[in-house]
């Protein structure tokens, strides 16, 4: 069996198939997870990678051998697995490697009610149990094959009022990932003319990487939106939990702008609500939340922090710069599809084009995330801190890496947990100010290279 330690990551299990992750490993993980949770039933789902179905079956065999009834939900998106775990109130396992290259696969786990399982909240225990030989239960669990897609689609459409939207032309790039399976069903009853790009489920990703945070993966969608005169373009990642948006001009919309838009909608529905945003989202997000009577709470980057803070603060919504959007009414889990429905509802309930609708939510100029390879993350960060400390009006904080801010600008420099990288994000009130600050910080970060 492969080396589990090398494939157990912060939020999931991920490795190359079959060298690091094969059916024996998946079966052992299934048995371990069933033992850890003690659950009477576990729902499983998988994406379209060629290895995913057999790995999900193997996971199920392991779980059933420990006495858990397995609800095998077949093909689906990660947020559909969260729906299953939430609606059925049972733990869940999703076989996917999200946007990673075809040779990878992985397993995301959640407890009943779609509660996250990370390295400190169960994954380490799963690893320890999977490395042992577990005695099978006296009575193995049963298997039930289950289709969650109709229930998932109905559930999402109940959360967002789309009853009065105008007819929209919507281009969707599924990147040969799971949105090709879910979008037709979710959009089925809506007044939408769908322009589908790469809806064929194909885990070899023949067209482009299923990772819309990289602008080159959005080019085909941008072109299709303009060519078909679409009102909006939507791009999903491989397991369709993240969603990116392109406006009617073919311009990429910042996830911060979407966070502000959805926050405003949630605040209109629930005045005074609490909204979570990570520290990389635009400063416009907390400003807009405050202006609309809400409470903005800033967190570290990463879904475990967002989900934990949302539950703690009973927040209605949370957004990240990475295109992850979390909803209280979706068990505090993230759903790109639900975010997309909010944008469609906002767009379709008024006459203006998307770019005009979103103008009010876009206030600053952002650099996007810029990675630099450094020899010593802490030393370089300290040098940058020193260079800015003492300047008039400048404040620093260390919620996640180093954030340096002043009236009209801020930047954050945070270390990667897995690579010797520093990740820089800069935002300022003008493009020129952003570029000057970005170049100044980059010169400090890269001076020893």
């Amino acid at each position: 069996m492969g080396d589990l330690a090398s494939i157990v990551k912060a939020y999931d299990i991920r490795g190359v198939v079959p060298d690091q992750l094969d059916e024996d490993v998946a079966e052992a993980v299934g048995a371990a997870f069933a033992t850890l949770t003690g659950a009477a039933a576990i729902v499983t789902m998988h994406d379209m990678r060629t290895s995913s179905g057999p790995l999900a079956d193997a996971f199920g065999r392991g779980a059933a051998a420990q006495g858990a009834d397995v609800l095998a939900a077949g093909l689906g998106s990660t947020d559909m697995l969260y729906y299953g775990s939430g609606d059925l109130d049972v733990p869940g396992a999703m076989v996917t490697a999200s946007h990673n290259p075809p040779q990878y696969n992985g397993i995301k786990l959640c407890r009943a009610g779609a509660k996250p399982v990370g390295i400190e909240t169960g994954l380490k225990d799963v690893q320890a149990l999977a490395e042992r030989t577990l005695a099978p239960a006296p009575v193995p669990g049963s298997v039930t094959r289950l289709d969650l897609l109709p229930g998932y689609a109905d559930y999402l459409r109940k959360l967002v009022d789309l009853s009065a939207i105008r007819p929209l032309t919507v281009a969707v790039d599924a990147g040969n990932g799971m949105a090709g399976h879910t979008v037709p069903k979710v959009f089925q009853t809506l007044p939408i003319t769908l322009i589908p790009l790469y809806f064929e489920l194909d885990g070899t990703f023949p067209n482009h990487e299923a990772n819309p945070i990289e602008p080159e993966n959005l080019r085909d969608l941008q072109q299709a939106v303009v060519e078909h005169r679409a009102d909006i373009g939507l791009a999903f990642d491989g397991d369709a939990d993240r969603c990116f948006v392109v406006d009617e001009r073919g311009q990429i919309v910042s996830p911060s702008v979407l966070t502000a838009l959805i926050a405003s909608r949630e605040l209109a529905r629930e005045p005074g609500a609490t909204i979570i945003h990570n520290l990389i989202t635009s400063r416009a997000v907390p400003q807009i939340i405050a202006e609309r009577g809400g409470t903005a709470v800033r967190t570290r980057v990463g879904h475990s922090f967002i989900k934990a803070t949302m539950a703690e603060r009973a927040a209605v919504f949370g957004g990240e710069h990475s295109g992850h959007f979390y909803f209280r009414d979706f068990w505090f889990a993230d759903s790109g599809m639900l975010a997309a429905l909010h944008v469609l509802a906002a767009l379709g309930s008024q006459a203006e084009p998307l770019s005009a609708l979103l103008a009010a939510y876009s206030r600053y100029h952002a650099s996007g995330e810029i990675n630099s390879l450094v020899a010593d993350q802490a030393k370089t960060t300290a040098q940058v801190r020193q260079a800015f400390t003492g300047r008039p009006g400048v404040e620093t904080d260390e919620l996640d890496g180093l954030t340096v801010s002043a009236g009209t600008w801020w930047f954050n420099l945070r270390p990667s947990n897995t690579e010797p990288l520093l990740r820089l994000n800069v935002e300022a009130d003008t493009e020129a100010a952003m570029a000057a600050l970005r170049d100044e910080v980059l010169a400090l970060v890269r001076k020893d290279i």
């Binding site: 109130d89 039930t144 094959r145 289950l146």
Partner: protein, 61 residues
Amino acid sequence: MLIEGWLLDILACPQCHAPLRTDEDASELVCTSDTCGLAYPVHDDIPWLLVEEARRPGDRT
């Protein structure tokens, strides 16, 4: 027994979300909604709660 009682309680018809009942004679799990009523087969002790596998009420295959 087609399915354990507690499992039947948490599962629902995939099409309309109404509760399911067992039909031991037909070896099916049947949606209890009057407007839906889809009947789902059980093959080799595995219930198939898949809409495309379901039998419509009145159709005998």
